[in-house]
Amino acid sequence: MSTPILEMKNITKEFPGVKALNNVSFRVARGEIHCLVGENGAGKSTLMKVLSGVYPHGTYSGDILLGGDVQRYRGIRDSEHAGVAIIYQELALIPELTVYENIFLGNEIRNGPLVNWNETIKRAGEMLDKVRLKVNPAAKIKDLGVGKQQLVEIAKALSRDIKLLILDEPTAALNEDDSANLLDLLRGLRDQGVTCILISHKLKEVIEISDSVTVLRDGQTICTLDAHKGEVSESALIKHMVGREIDNIYPRREHKEPGEVVLEVRGWNAYDPGLGRTILRDVNLNVRRGEIVGVAGLMGSGRTELAMSIFGNPLGYQIKGELLMKGKPQSFRQPQDAISAGVAYVTEDRKGNGLILIQDVKENITLANLYAIAQRGVIDSNAEIKIANEYKVSLNIKTPSVEQRVSNLSGGNQQKVCLSKWLFVKPDLLILDEPTRGIDVGAKFEIYTLMNTLVDQGMSIIMISSELPEVLGMSDRVYIVSSGRITGELPIAEATPEKVMRLATN
């Protein structure tokens, strides 16, 4: 066997408190399509960031060999120079510039200090032919569909002298025709000798296109499968992806018969005018009193959009459908309406839209329900401190005092502050979006225990999570979301990891 084009040896990358990659090894042979699969958080993106120099040499341990030579990237420019091109899920094109300007952006064809536009337009045309895209090179990017934009990105990558093309979930935002078209193109490029690494959650597509597949789980390489030896099948992939046993980190709780329906949505559709596409289609879902309903789905499947659209729709989607709270039709026009009706939403991105990092613990806890501790608009600071201290004790928030800035707390304690904030509004329904992302096992256990206590007291919980073990370990009932649709609803007794994964990658 000849030298592999890429070899990553014993890569370990640590973040404070977490080992994102643990001794990962990864080989890609020349001229193949190599797929990289794994659950969210398995380490795929981190591995690609190491490869592309986002995490420069010295911030990880292990070696990267490209064509047999050891690489030491100081930044993205170095890896690009060496011939590694990455195309991310969020496209990096400039909407207001033309196709040809984008293709040669940062790599302009020059005549001294000037850009040689004639040559640029000519070469751009050649690149577009290569990716089989028929558009006017002078069209603006914003006037193209997502599928075509993706092809422009690939043309841009090909315009440089690349050794390795990496695509991070290229089909996540594409419809079926565009996806098929893209996969076809990748096969064509492979036949011309381009090596390609493809990260994908869509197992069907992985099986269809790959020459080999590497599975990552919990920051480790599980195995590399060879498609030409018939090793790649859906069941094999799922087995390796979810392989871990569900350990006893989930506190047991009796699955009681739940009470009346608290929230119901029917025929729920949402269109995002910003993205220009429908993000939720015909969603029907209900939650009953005293139950934990899991919503499983991969990143980008529409889970968070579902929560946002229910919680007063702050992102301005165009929504069609019915929402009933305790049997009464409701239309929440802003988060405040949802809060008043008894809904609380702990967001996925606690630093981005959950907490006010520059404020202290007590100010964050009382923020959503300030009028409860105010008289005629004046805050009773004694009451505020008392309430914050109560939550500090009952949720075991580790902080020197409630006057500590939340930016100084650890992830788990920040999450407890978020939870306190929403418990203080005394909701009937608590929506938790990735409630344990990026927090340590101890704090996870505390949060799970708290969830059990809350449902025992009669609260209802929707738990959105991409961690399958967590969904299966905590829920009474599971909905599976994929591409903006509910692709399945399973009682917990029937929900096996394989079944859920199959529906989620549907």
């Binding site: 839209n353 006010i356 520059i358 004046v378 805050i379 904030k421």
Partner: protein
């Protein structure tokens, strides 16, 4: 031990105390270079009156910057409102007690109009208020087109800009304004009492408090400062109405920002608008409130300026917005949002007017004055960013 404590507290709170120290140093330098003229009763009294119309703008601008916006239109809005007030008093002959509330409401409405495209369409406030800058400048010129400068004869109105509070007829100390002294003493007593009760409360909740000796030093220092200022003022004409208004605005806004739900919502929107919206706060509403208050304070600034000049002129309000923005930044407001106190901005305004007044006394050429003020603004912001980074 004491000096170690002092050093530690100063280092930890350098950002908060920095501007007080800067103000003190600036005043000291001018006191020396002008051989005492700068700290004379007459000049200090004048300085405070000059600060008034910028200070009220700086208070409003603090909140605007806290919610991550800017309002460039406030200067000419102040000028325009001043002209409206002059016309109402002179040509229409309306009484003062009617004119003042009317123009304050008018200012608030103007602020809401500036906020409209910002809140509804997400237009950058820089652009929306730049449009306002042009429009209000045009309106000011229209309002003063007929007569040019409009002289205001109404003494009740002009007293706001150059009058002093009356004295009570008790003469214990000769040649001293007794009521001013009394106000000073009451202020000191209230300040000391509130600080002690606050400290007791914080101790009860086992929050971090200043070491006792430093706490006493702080009380003594601030009491001495307030005492000194009132002493100097009362040896001249006492407290002016401008200072009364400035203190009242500062007090009200300080209370709103630190004690009320509205204040908390404003700072939450500044700290993280997405989190605030998802916590049930209407970001739009907060933008309207903040710009509305800015408009009202612009009107107040216009009243103070017109009263001080006893007239409305075609150029009234020129560059006020930049002085107000500079004052807010010198006072520790952060452009990243969510951080800044109204009391800081008042100090910032005092720093900026002290520079002008001191350099005028020194007969420094106006060109150099601009350069010095620019350098002070830049150093203040650099200092702020540097200390913020160090404290992370």
């Amino acid at each position: 031990m004491f000096f170690q404590n002092l050093q530690k507290v100063l280092r930890q709170n350098i950002r908060e105390y920095g501007m007080y120290i800067a103000l003190f140093v600036i005043m000291l330098i001018f006191a020396i270079t002008t051989k005492g003229t700068f700290v004379s009763a007459r000049n200090l009294s004048n300085l405070l009156n000059q600060t008034g119309y910028i200070a009220v703008l700086a208070v409003g601008m603090t909140l605007v910057i806290v919610v991550r916006h800017i309002d460039l239109s406030v200067g000419f809005l102040a000028g325009f409102i001043g002209a409206i007030a002059a016309i109402a008093l002179k040509s229409l002959g309306w009484p003062v007690f009617l004119v003042i509330p009317m123009v304050l409401v008018l200012g608030a409405i103007a602020g809401l109009i500036t906020a409209l495209p910002v809140a509804q369409l997400g237009i950058p406030s820089f652009v929306a208020s730049l449009a306002g800058w042009l429009i209000f400048r045009g309106l000011l010129q229209l309002a003063t087109a007929g007569t040019g400068t409009i002289i205001i004869a109404d003494t009740a109105f002009t007293a706001i800009g150059d009058g002093f509070i009356p004295d009570i007829p008790i003469k214990i100390l000769p040649n001293m304004h007794f009521l001013t002294l009394l106000v000073g003493v009451v202020a000191i007593v209230l300040f000391v009492m509130s600080e002690i009760s606050r400290r007791q409360k914080q101790e009860a909740y086992s929050f971090e408090v200043l070491p006792k000796d430093i706490f006493v030093l702080k009380l003594v220092f601030i009491s001495a400062l307030v005492g000194a200022i009132t002493w100097v003022l009362s040896s001249y004409n006492g407290i002016s109405w401008t200072v009364v208004i400035m203190l009242a605005v500062t007090g009200i806004y300080h209370f709103i920002t630190t004690q009320t739900v509205l204040g908390r919502h404003i700072y939450a929107v500044g700290g993280n608008p997405d989190a605030a919206e998802l916590s049930g706060i209407s970001v739009k509403r907060i933008i309207y409130v903040v710009f509305g208050s800015m408009g009202m304070l612009s009107a107040l600034s216009g009243i103070l300026f017109a009263a001080r000049l006893k007239s409305a002129t075609t150029t009234a309000g020129t560059l006020f917005e930049l002085d107000a923005i500079a004052a807010a930044y010198v006072g520790g407001v952060s452009a990243a949002g969510g951080v800044g106190r109204v009391t800081g901005s008042i100090i910032g305004a005092l720093v900026m007017t002290s520079l002008t007044s001191g350099m005028n006394l020194m007969n420094v050429d106006i060109s150099y004055q601009y350069i010095v003020r620019g350098a002070v603004l830049a150093s203040a912001v650099i200092f702020d960013v540097a200390t913020r980074r160090a404290s992370k």
